[in-house]
Symmetry: C2
Subunit: 557 residues, 2 copies
């Protein structure tokens, strides 16, 4: 560590609904103060505020002014809460949802800020959960497969409709004028850094995972032209150009304008952009090869470094330096986890549980977890597939759906609740198996995210995966991880590994597997696997048929 | 009709929890008055009242004194409610749950009435839903299959643990002394007739469906000896002997004792015993060949006459004269129907539906039916298997369980409710298909039972089965059917067909299928069939595995 004793850094986590700034001591990672700013516009899903225009289904936009408000309000508030002098802050770093790209001018001005364009939906940032570019993603995948594009296997064989190319192609096809006026197509993760330091950069993480940057290049102009003649120049004109920057490197220095917004000293280090899940890995001290971090919230994101490049079927992506420089960063995911439990509590739990929870001062999740935790393994006689939001890894199929078998007249809410938890644990085990089979075994399993507070869920995961769980020791993992990157960018640590060692927070072996319980889960996992393959790999196409009938997406994501 | 103009008959329906007597006018079937008597002992499932002894799981006994109380209280009350003179009553008939056998002395005295035996569980009637003789049923089936017993195919290839032989064998094996002291083993359906007319008879319905009486004989002594040497004389000593009587025939005349109980004239006609579902067929005018009656309540029982004998896979049984004399009576069933809907409402519907129902003065079934009825076919994107209580027909497997596929975060209670209704309708269609495939096609579909009041359920059944539904016009179908048999036994009608024509009640074409909706259901039924065969015919044994793990019955019923 080479910084003043009282030196601090600021990490800012830009989430789906709000941004959170945290002031962190460089020396030991102590979180000194934080503040949250809720986005006034939230997620723009139904109508565009500027015009009242109804948005089609599956759209999700944001207003970039909300992001700047986080700089103006949450940052000074966090500094004040921390009780530190602004002059003690030596660097700032950010992480963002991704892929959340936006169209901007060459100077970084968002298209939606231009007079006459504020009523054009395609002029706004497309939030990660904008799912209206599925048709474009399908064509991107089909053509890439047909041409044998070398990058396709790096994404488990299929790129997502959430990512930059599909969303940009949607702009071109649906609003050619907006596409034409887009001078740069940039991830919000890079745009916010641009606003802070005045330099346009592309960070290695989103460039690799979301913009198909592999082996030093983006998809070729020939490939893009074959998609659409007008798309041929997309990379050269709107993406490529600015430096590709490693995570933790210094993207630039805080501008006078940004210093004014934030109340921080002009000229301090601004780190390269980053992504919420990936930036959390060093905060949990989970960046050595074979250490997988599962960020478990409404969905689960799995990130892991490895020394070698492998093609893991169904992974979201593998990117050189995608988590930390010098290692291959792997990402996988489960589309639905906490949101399935939330759906269940909201839609399938009868009044007596709500009443009992109220009487006991618990929430319904707490009550159901307690009751579920008392059950023997197999006692409920149920088995579920956790595909209520589709399956990201390893099947990469958003048309799948949830299933439960074993229902009886004696089935009660806590039985189903436990079966749903177990199903998501089996889904995680499926991902661990895929990594092992591909030659990049998961040596250790770390957990971050809101679900780590639930001991029943944690113990089931330890038992099902036969692994000790190491839990992150911070409730603000992404912001803490960002702060570490700020410290590295400011030169306080040589690299993110050193920063992680000094500033990270982890409780090792917080939950350990019990051999008898693990053994009891093995045959259930075998049954899960049979259902998984039967419904997920073509044995019975009923899930796709049912999705088509109900007007859901007809194609795969 | 050959009776006095004001002549009446009484039908008594002995159900699971109560007995109902109805006074009916012979001339036109008008129901003049009725009364119900709840059994004081109800279903004895947990402990024997006489001793406080805990009963093992799956036991279900009754107290025969409760049945006599129905004669003593409900009959005179019904006569009073009807406002008729007892002297106008020319006959009485009964129907009963089945198989509900009891051990008695040669004079009809129940063993449980004997001093010193009142604390012996095996001295009591075993109610139809006593399921503790599964081991015996398994051995009965295995041996019958091994020996190629000719009667086995008449029961879809498997007899039930609910029936007379399995229950008697359980008595022998678990309380040899009680078995030894049993002089007659008799269905409650025949025992109550014995109490009314003083004559022991065996009615063609229970003898055929529950006591394996086929082609004029019961299972052979050789077969019984092979089961257990001590069981060799079961038929000759405890079952056979009394006349086998056709349905609607006169079993005898009301004794002085029974006349005193009931307040009815001594000497009036007492009809042969009968069973609740079967006796309802003439009440619904559903006794011509090819007219199937579905009695839809917590479970569904299907009965149908045909001119020819066929072996329908998975039927419960086919019996010569089992519904009406001179035709082959077929029976099939669905183990769970209304009880699945009830389970769902009690265990999987969140508070806001209960509140809304309360505000609107509906019950939750009414609210969910209304919401479910507004959905387009396929809109909910769900498909279920209706096996929460196992599958009676056509798979004859009580170890199966319920399944639902297509769950999404947008799934709501009314979606699942409709999917469950549809699943039971698909289950009915599966039974209709099996009859057609076996050469005894269902020409017309009639409905009785509590569910006929739900228009959403009825329309779905019409659409799924592509058949108009004819609904019984009485809320007391079994008792009305019994009353018809009393009229025939009293000589007022030549046969049950004539009585049915004059006294029956049916609303024909109450619901008719819509071609577009039927066509929309066809592909869903195809998917149901694939799931049905995959999980029900060995494609995936997960349901059996889950049942074994949760301590449920390990074998098939």
């Amino acid at each position: 560590m080479s910084a003043q004793p009282g030196a601090c850094v600021i990490g800012i986590d830009f989430g789906t609904l709000s941004g959170r700034a945290v002031v962190v001591r460089v020396a030991d990672g102590e979180e000194l103060g934080s503040a949250v700013h809720e986005y006034p516009h939230g997620v723009i899903e139904r109508e565009l505020p500027a015009s009242g225009e109804r948005l089609p289904p599956d759209w999700a936009l944001q207003d970039p002014e909300d992001y700047l408000d986080v700089l103006r309000t949450a940052v000074p508030a966090a500094v004040e809460a921390a009780g530190v002098a602004p002059g003690d802050v030596i660097g700032i770093a950010t992480d963002f949802t991704a892929s959340t790209p936006l169209p901007v001018l060459a100077d970084g001005t968002p298209l939606c800020r231009l007079s006459g364009l504020e009523d054009r939906p395609h002029a706004y940032p497309k939030l990660w959960k904008h799912h209206a570019a599925q048709g474009q993603a399908d064509r991107i995948n089909a053509l890439a497969e047909e041409r044998g594009e070398p990058w396709l296997p790096r994404y488990g064989g299929r790129i997502s409709s959430e990512w930059e190319f599909a969303k940009a192609l949607q702009v071109l096809e649906e609003d050619a004028d907006a596409y034409e006026r887009t001078e740069r197509w940039v991830e919000a993760a890079d745009w916010i850094v641009w606003q802070l330091c005045g330099e346009e950069t592309r960070n290695a993480c989103t460039a690799g995972y979301k913009a198909i940057h592999q082996d030093g290049r983006y998809p070729s102009a020939e490939y893009l032209a074959a998609l659409d003649e007008r798309f041929a120049g997309f990379v050269s004109e709107k993406i490529d150009g600015p430096p590709l920057v490693a995570l933790g490197s210094r993207a630039g220095s805080l501008t006078a304008r940004a210093a004014e917004w934030t109340g921080l000293p002009e000229g301090i280090a601004v780190a390269a952009g980053n992504v919420d899940a990936h930036v959390t890995a060093p905060a949990a001290q989970a960046i050595d090869p074979g250490q997988m971090l599962a960020v478990m919230g409404t969905s689960t994101c799995h990130v892991m470094n490895a020394e070698s490049l492998a093609e893991v079927p169904g992974m979201c992506g593998v990117v050189d330096g995608g988590i930390t420089p010098g290692l291959w960063g792997y990402e996988a995911g489960q589309s639905g986890v906490g949101d399935i439990f939330g759906w269940f509590v909201d839609n399938a739990v009868p009044p007596r549980y709500h009443e009992q929870a109220r009487e006991r001062g618990l929430d319904v999740h707490g009550l159901l977890s307690e009751l579920a935790g008392e059950l023997e393994i197999g006692e409920h006689g149920l088995l579920a597939l956790d595909w209520h939001s589709g399956n990201r890894s390893v099947l990469v199929d958003h048309e799948l759906s949830g299933l439960i078998v074993g229902l009886k007249l004696s089935t009660r809410a806590e039985h189903v609740y436990r079966a749903l938890i177990e199903a998501t644990a089996f889904g995680t085990r499926k991902i661990l198996d895929a990594f092992a089979d591909a030659g990049v075994p998961v040596r250790e399993l770390f957990v971050a995210g809101g679900l780590l507070k639930n001991p029943v869920i944690m113990q089931i995961y330890a038992d099902v995966t036969r692994r000790p769980l190491h839990l992150i020791g911070s409730e603000q993992g992404p912001a803490l991880g960002s702060a570490m990157h700020a410290a590295v960018a400011a030169g306080a640590y040589e690299d993110i590994h050193a920063a992680s060692a000094a500033m990270g927070r982890v409780t090792r072996d917080a939950y350990v597997p019990d051999e008898a319980r693990s053994a009891a889960y093995d045959p259930l996992y075998d049954h899960y696997s049979r259902l998984h393959d039967h419904f997920g790999r073509g044995g019975d196409e009923v899930m796709h048929a049912l999705r088509r009938r109900d007007g859901g997406p007809a194609a795969r994501d």
